[in-house]
């Protein structure tokens, strides 16, 4: 019964009035904003179903407390109830799956990108190479490198790993992807606001896993162009290009590039 009261409430909430965030953030990219709405949808479902079950559960505990040595009616089956609580969850699952598909297809689509960044993870740091320019940013353990990208632009990321599996995770993008050795992982993101966002390796990668940070700095397009020009460093870039593509664990850059383009 409660479910039928709550459903229109959920619909109202989805139409965009004041839907609680359920602990998540709206995110700084177009993709993360769809994920955020999916999160809200799932959460509304979880609250309704969880609330309904909790109410039944607490009611049963309070109402059917033992009062004596009576033996209750030994009812074991109630077919209509069993059918309802089988069919309704199946319908809910179809709804959740449909919503998942819509958002997933949007998220994994690879629209035409104007900017490409090659992200290479290694024990224990990150290297951001900008192909067709001469900019490369490398940082290890305590020198959190910064990936600079332009706002309102599709940025194509080519994600690789030199040694073990790492996790490329930016909290503000509501997104993570493994950097796998021997695999080129690609995805596209479009930042919708400028600012500094912190990122971190999420997949256990050895001793200094806890300290494998990086930053993402989203700037205006003109600032981005200016930054690229100011950080071009043919020597470091050539050295970095040379190490990319080699797969052995020993090929970890030993010193950070001088073109650490952070202001």
């Amino acid at each position: 019964m409660r479910r039928f009261v709550a459903l229109p409430l959920g619909a109202l909430a989805l139409s965009g009035c004041t839907v609680p965030a359920f602990g998540a953030h709206k995110g700084a990219t177009t993709e993360s904003s769809s994920v955020f709405h999916l999160w809200q949808g799932f959460s509304i479902g979880a609250v309704i179903i969880g609330g309904f079950v909790t109410v039944l559960f607490v009611y049963a505990i309070l109402r059917f407390r033992r009062k004596g040595d009576n033996i209750p009616r030994q009812a074991q089956y109630h077919l209509p109830a069993e059918v309802i609580y089988t069919v309704v969850p199946i319908l809910v699952v179809f709804g959740l799956f449909a919503a998942t598909l819509v958002v997933e297809n949007k998220e994994v689509a690879n629209p035409k990108a104007n900017v490409t960044v090659d992200v290479n993870a290694f024990q224990w740091g990150w290297k951001f190479t900008y192909p067709h320019t001469e900019t490369v940013v490398i940082g290890q353990t305590t020198q959190d490198p910064t990936m600079v990208i332009p706002v309102n632009t599709n940025v194509h990321i080519n994600l690789t790993s030199t040694d073990v599996i790492h996790g490329f995770y930016v909290r503000a993008f509501n997104f993570s992807r493994y950097a796998l050795p021997g695999v080129l992982n690609q995805f596209t993101l479009e930042a919708v606001k400028t600012g500094n966002f912190s990122g971190q390796c999420t997949q256990l990668c050895g001793l200094y896993h806890s300290l494998m940070f990086f930053n993402v700095k989203v700037v205006s397009k003109s600032q981005y162009t200016a930054w690229l020009a100011s950080t071009a460093n043919p020597v470091a870039f050539a050295a970095a290009q040379k190490t990319t593509g080699q797969q052995t664990a020993t090929q970890v850059p030993t010193k950070p590039a001088s073109s650490h383009g952070d202001n």
């Binding site: 799932f42 059917f64 009812a75 069993e82």
Partner: protein
């Protein structure tokens, strides 16, 4: 005893020599008797005690982990020690506690008695299982005493982190060896349980008269047989990569690191249900007994268990969405579908309580605590079945919180199982007052330690980090989580104190809970081959039918007095029988 000749016999005498059970094997005594025993109750008790010791060891690791995370730059342990600690915490809890406690411990003891069998089908294989498990556990833990320390690549041992370049040292090899041994012990127990349940059921105990716990153990055993050999094969491949120069998981030699994840999770997801199903079964039995009602929707419960088992074999890649190489919607759909049979179970549990007479013993409190905690863990699991939401929460504390809600629910159910079946195994009850105290510490502690982790995960705190210097704002929530972990630790201390305090203090008789299934018909503890006599088995709760012949289960739509399975004549016969002498205690 009742001498009954009239067919059909309501009581079947299985004590053929008629000497009231003085047929224990003579010979070895003391420790030698224990070491050479093939009695499923002795082996099961050894399993139970060993696995509870493992729970305590794994819990100590958890307390150290939580103490380390109580400050952003925790210095209690080093980064290397921290990696060992969470690896061994996960490994001990998953491999050495949860599974062995359920299918080696309680199932080993209870399943044969529940179906009226004298022992497991292969008693010596059963003993081998235990000794493999004990040796495997010791082997794995010995890693701490090697020069390089214990395994430190997480309990999932992802390649290529687990290869010999990134993780040299004997600790990792001992981890692989220990896991191989316990894996074999699980496989042998799976063989044993399957054979026992298929071939050793008492006359009248048809498949659809088996208690839900036995059904769940059957599905668990089949899942073990399907999943564990894959893990065993994977571990051998990993060992070959480490020592014999193969390149199965290394890119340099043309191998594929992600293959390890496929193999591991092809075992690992069924394993989730290998762990969970036994505890679902325990909660089911406890809720029914303490509601004084039959299991509501018995048949839908069985089919829900079977479909969980089937679906669990097709969802492994949901652990790998963020690899980007297996983004098939199939895995998302199958994972979401598991919510359906799980939901059926939850509604059946509530249906069992509905209009019952709830007796809030410690066992029942634990089962109810299980239900609530499992509901939270189940709902948060639905998010993780959706790839976009998984991208966002994968490898963060949200996942940690999700599966700790689940496993702590299992711990609650397992504790309920100990309070419920402990008296049957030992002949003595545990103290209920201590039990209640333990329950509240465990239940509240569980919520206090998981809830902050959900929020931390959504705020971006990754798993398996020893410090969070850039995010000191996480300290408050981490402190709450640590506080919750301390409450859980106290609950374990209360449990140990309770066992000591109640030692041989409260004799319980055969059926202290007015329970329903066959194990409560025999003595506590049961005699060597479990039964002197069996009641007529005409439903899934023969003991209840025997004790309350006028209160049998009702079919849907029947009125107050109708009977479901039984011709009225049999009712009259059973009703006329006086209770067995063993039965009045």
């Amino acid at each position: 005893m009742v001498d009954l000749i009239t067919p059909p016999p309501a009581i079947i005498d299985v004590d053929h020599d008629g000497d009231e059970g003085h047929d224990e094997h003579h010979g070895a005594t003391g420790i030698l008797k224990w070491m050479t025993s093939t009695d499923h109750k002795v082996i099961g008790l050894s399993y139970t005690v060993t696995s509870v010791v493992m729970l305590i060891i794994g819990g100590l690791f958890a307390e150290i982990i939580r103490a380390q995370l109580a400050s952003p730059n925790g210095t209690l342990v080093s980064l290397a020690q921290y990696n060992e600690l969470f690896t061994m915490h996960g490994s001990v809890m998953i491999y050495l506690f949860a599974g062995p406690f359920a299918f080696g411990g309680l199932a080993n003891i209870i399943v044969p008695i529940q179906i009226g069998a004298p022992d497991m089908a292969f008693p010596r294989l059963n003993a081998l299982s235990y000794w493999l498990y004990l040796m495997g556990s010791i082997t794995m833990l010995m890693g701490f005493f090697t020069a390089g320390g214990a395994a430190n690549f997480g309990w999932v041992a992802y390649a290529p982190l687990s290869n010999s370049i990134n993780t040299p040292g004997a600790g990792a090899d001992l981890w692989i060896g220990g896991l191989l041994l316990t894996g074999f012990s699980a496989i042998f127990t799976g063989v044993n349980l399957t054979a026992t349940i298929f071939y050793l059921r008492a006359p009248g105990m048809t498949m659809f008269r088996m208690p839900i716990f036995t059904w769940n153990m059957l599905v668990t055993a089949i899942l073990i047989l399907l999943a564990f050999p894959v893990l065993t094969a994977g571990l051998i491949m990993l060992y070959c990569d480490r020592h014999f120069g193969t390149h199965i998981f290394s890119v340099a030699g043309g191998g594929v690191p992600v293959l390890w994840q496929h193999i591991f999770w092809f075992w690992g997801h069924p394993e989730v249900y290998i762990l969970a199903l036994p505890f679902f079964g325990m909660a089911t039995e406890i809720i029914a007994v303490f509601s004084k009602k039959p299991v509501f929707g018995y048949k839908s419960m069985v089919f829900a268990t079977l479909s969980i088992g089937a679906l669990s074999l097709g969802v492994w890649a949901h652990h790998m969405f963020t690899t980007g190489v297996v983004l098939l919607p199939f895995f998302s759909f199958m994972s979401l579908m598991i919510a359906v049979p799980t939901g059926i179970k939850i509604f059946n549990w509530i249906g069992t309580m509905w209009r019952g007479e709830l007796w809030f013993s410690t066992a029942m409190l634990m089962a109810l605590g299980f239900l609530f905690t499992f509901l939270i863990g189940g709902l948060t699991g639905i998010y993780l079945a959706s790839p976009p939401l998984d991208f966002f929460t994968h490898d963060t504390y949200f996942v940690v919180a999700h599966f700790h809600s689940i496993v702590m629910a299992l711990v609650l159910a397992g504790m309920g199982g100990l309070y419920f079946w402990g008296p049957k195994i030992t002949g003595y009850l545990l103290n209920e007052k201590f039990g209640r105290i333990q329950f509240w510490f465990l239940f509240i502690g569980t919520q206090v330690f998981t809830f902050p982790q959900y929020i931390l995960g959504l705020d971006g705190m990754p798993r398996r980090i020893a410090m969070y210097p850039h995010s000191p704002q996480w300290k408050t929530l981490n402190d709450w989580s640590t506080f919750g972990a301390i409450l859980v630790g106290i609950s374990m201390i209360v449990f140990v104190v309770n066992v000591g305090y109640s030692w041989k203090k409260y004799p319980c008789g055969d059926n202290p809970w007015d329970a329903q299934t066959l194990e409560w018909f025999t003595t506590s503890p049961p005699p060597h081959h479990n039964f002197y006599r069996l009641p007529q088995i005409r439903s899934e709760r023969p003991t209840w039918d025997y004790n309350h012949p006028e209160h049998r289960s009702l079919a849907h739509g029947t009125g107050g007095t109708g009977t479901h399975h039984e011709p009225p004549l049999a009712n009259a016969i059973v009703g006329a029988l006086e209770h067995d002498q063993d039965h009045d205690a």
